[in-house]
């Protein structure tokens, strides 16, 4: 057995130590415990772990990726590209951008500052708003899984938003996470705590405008909705084709809270994303909507949870997936209705469109219902482009490629219509068109930009 020397800045104990320095005691302790859990927990395995049965990460060598980039270039061009994406879709939004170096940009927050909305890095929140941060972090405990443990040990910077009781945030918050350079490891963190009757639109973007470097991203976004709170959460995952991305997006909704969760999965070499909503309070409701487009050799895995823990809660999930080339989509969903969650409704729909012979998509929804007075259903379909639809368009002169583009866009339309922010919806429509057309996303060069 060979002994490997740790790589400077790599995912490892030294990186955890660097983050402990300067952190409040509770957080330093939490990071240590998380690192310990990480080292003890095995990598998820298709044989052992039900939710990893179809997604294999055994080739991912986490310790070979660099969490702390040392004295490399500053990544200004990357941040600029991330900012431009925001300007395309939501120029009104407050902008918070992080790289491996932590929080790098915080702009356009005046209006929200004046409303008493707190927007800062998680590091600052740990010092200045520890109760709220701890409340959110308690929903993503390190011991739960290998990747959550790693995230808890190593997150840095990120975007923390707290909306005080009764405050309706007047503009959205746009949280951007970016990295570049072969071997980069980033641990994106977006945390939102909405106090009672507060409302917010949060746009959460993961992208590597520099291209397709071999990177790893392990993310978590604990979202907490107090009583009667309203959160519109728009997620865009647009990592380059070299990135491994494992993310836990988990919202807990209090009494009469309403969550609209909208996720777009376009990027990454491999994604394992958990989209979870815990309906903790009576009358809470959530819609979860996803669009996913995969091509090349992408492996995109979504795992949803709609956990009805209180009476009269409602959830409705729609995931539309199109895959091309050799891409593969995996969807697994669970609706759980606890014994006390009477008179609850839960729905899941997963529709898959396969655009090439080599592309594959599967969906396996499950129901676990312990209450007796509930309405739940699920449906999955998978198919190829309908020849009659294609012929109909072609018979009007529309060439094959354009006909297919129209059909795929049309297939996604009802999901896109559920995107709660119009600018994001328009951006996604354009990005989807680019994906379908097979154009690479224009970006910046990674040579000059390691962040």
């Amino acid at each position: 057995m060979s002994i490997q020397l740790p790589i400077a800045g790599a995912v490892g104990a030294a990186a955890v130590e660097a983050r402990r320095a300067g952190a409040p005691a509770w957080l330093a302790e939490r990071r240590s415990a998380a690192w310990e859990a990480f080292t003890e927990l095995p990598m998820p395995s298709p044989q052992r772990d039900e939710d990893w049965r179809r997604t294999d990460v055994s080739e991912l060598r986490l310790e070979e990726y660099i969490a702390d980039p040392g004295t490399a270039a500053a990544g200004e061009a990357l941040l600029q590209a991330m900012s431009q994406l925001r300007l395309r879709a939501a120029p009104e939004a407050a902008f918070v951008a992080s790289t491996r170096r932590g929080l790098r940009r915080r702009e356009g927050t005046d209006m929200l500052d004046a409303q008493g909305v707190i927007i800062c890095s998680l590091d600052d929140a740990a010092v200045q708003h520890p109760e709220q941060l701890r409340r959110a972090l308690s929903t993503v405990p390190p011991e739960e899984s290998k990747f959550l443990a790693l995230w808890n040990a190593l997150w840095r910077g990120g975007c923390f938003v707290y909306v005080p009781p009764g405050v309706e945030a007047r503009v959205p918050v746009w949280a951007a996470h970016t990295a570049a350079g072969a071997g980069a490891a980033i641990f994106p963190a977006t945390v939102a705590v909405l106090d009672d009757r507060a409302s917010l639109t949060l746009i959460d973007v993961y992208a590597s405008p520099a291209g397709d470097d071999d990177m790893v991203s392990v993310a978590a976004t604990p979202l907490v909705l107090g009583e009667g709170a309203r959160l519109d959460y728009c997620l865009l995952q647009q990592w380059g084709m070299g990135t491994w991305h494992v993310a836990t997006h988990r919202a807990s909704a209090g009494r009469d809270a309403r969550l609209r969760f909208f996720g777009a999965t376009l990027g990454a070499r491999l994604q394992k994303a958990y989209w979870e909503v815990l309906l903790d309070g009576q009358g809470a409701e959530a819609t979860l909507t996803g669009i996913c487009f995969g091509d090349g050799a992408q492996h995109l895995d979504h795992q949803s949870l709609q956990d009805h823990r209180a009476p009269q809660t409602r959830s409705d999930l729609l995931l539309k997936v199109a895959v091309r080339d050799e891409a593969r989509s995996i969807y697994g969903g669970l609706i759980e209705v606890q014994r006390r969650a009477q008179q609850s409704d839960g729905y899941v729909q997963n529709r898959n469109l396969m655009l090439s012979r080599g592309a594959r998509a599967s969906g396996i929804p499950r129901l676990e219902i312990k209450a007796d007075d509930v309405r739940c259903s699920h449906g999955v379909t998978a198919g190829h482009i309908d020849n009659d639809q294609r012929f109909y368009l072609e018979s009007r002169g529309v060439p094959r490629a354009e006909a297919d583009r129209l059909i795929v866009r049309g297939f996604m339309q009802d999901a896109l219509d559920r995107c709660p922010h119009q600018g994001v919806r328009e951006l996604l429509t354009e990005l989807l068109d680019e994906e379908i057309a097979g154009h690479p996303v224009a970006g910046v060069s990674s040579d000059e930009d390691v962040a």
């Binding site: 639809q389 129209l406 049309g410």
Partner: protein
């Protein structure tokens, strides 16, 4: 005088899933004329329509088909459309998520007939009004949840907006009540002219009272067995197909 653009079908054989349906169809439809193609169920009328438009399910096993001097058979459906062919579907296909207005723009663009946005919308509005189609249909998804009559009107709207040079109308009159039939027939009448040929496939002679075809053909067992003027349609209306088919069957091959 140069010959008018003409749809020429000669000895056309075609099969669906290995079964031969067309067994040597001969037909000439020049621009500026309306030809009706009649025939009992199963005679191959729709097969001829799909085959001429280039549906991949229909395999040509012999003969030829051309338009305006071009061989149609090697061309894909969209290439045929760009040559000027149009098919009004008997059962138009729904395409969820694609609005009528976006679809028509994509089609016009593909045909090289793109209009400035304002002019396009004006044209669309006036054609929709003529066909008594509610403005709301602009934003609706193509044929998605449309009634049978709405679908047929939408086909004729496309005919009016896209202005092909040779239109095959496959039972555009079926499933329409008398008022809808008149509206659709008037819509077709408005596009009839020197620049367009029409092959009107129908079961019934009623629409022919509106459209006054220049020629009527009867298809039977995958062949044109009789041709004539409008009087042939009237004869079918009063006597049915049997006397004509009987005479055709009795004629020397």
């Amino acid at each position: 005088m140069p010959e008018r653009p003409t749809l020429v079908v000669e000895g056309l054989h075609a099969a669906v899933e290995g079964k031969e349906i067309l067994r040597g169809v001969d037909l000439r439809v020049p621009a500026g004329e309306v030809h009706a193609l009649m025939g009992p169920n199963g005679s191959g009328k729709s097969t001829l329509a799909y085959t001429l438009m280039g549906h991949p399910k229909y395999e040509v096993t012999g003969g030829r088909a051309g338009f305006d001097g071009h061989d149609l058979l090697p061309l894909s459906a969209d290439e045929r459309a760009r040559l000027g062919l149009f098919l009004s579907f008997q059962y138009p296909t729904a395409i969820p998520g694609v609005t009528t207005v976006n679809f028509l723009r994509a089609a016009l663009k593909a045909l090289g007939k793109e209009l400035p946005a304002r002019q396009f919308l004006q044209t669309l509005s006036s054609e929709m009004a003529t066909l008594k189609i509610d403005e709301g249909f602009r934003a609706r998804y193509i044929n998605d949840g449309f009634s049978g009559g709405e679908k047929k009107r939408m086909e004729i709207l496309q005919l009016a907006v896209l202005r092909p040079r040779m239109a095959i109308l496959d039972e555009t009159d079926s499933g329409l009540d008398i008022d809808a039939l008149r509206t659709v027939a008037e819509g077709v009448n408005r596009v009839i002219g020197e620049d367009i040929g029409i092959l009107l496939i129908t079961h019934y002679s009623r629409i022919l009272e509106y459209l006054r075809p220049d020629a009527v053909h009867v298809l039977h067992h995958g062949r044109v067995v009789a041709s004539g003027g409008h009087e042939l349609a009237r004869r079918i209306e009063s006597e049915g197909y049997d006397p004509i088919l009987g005479a055709a069957a009795g004629a020397p091959a």
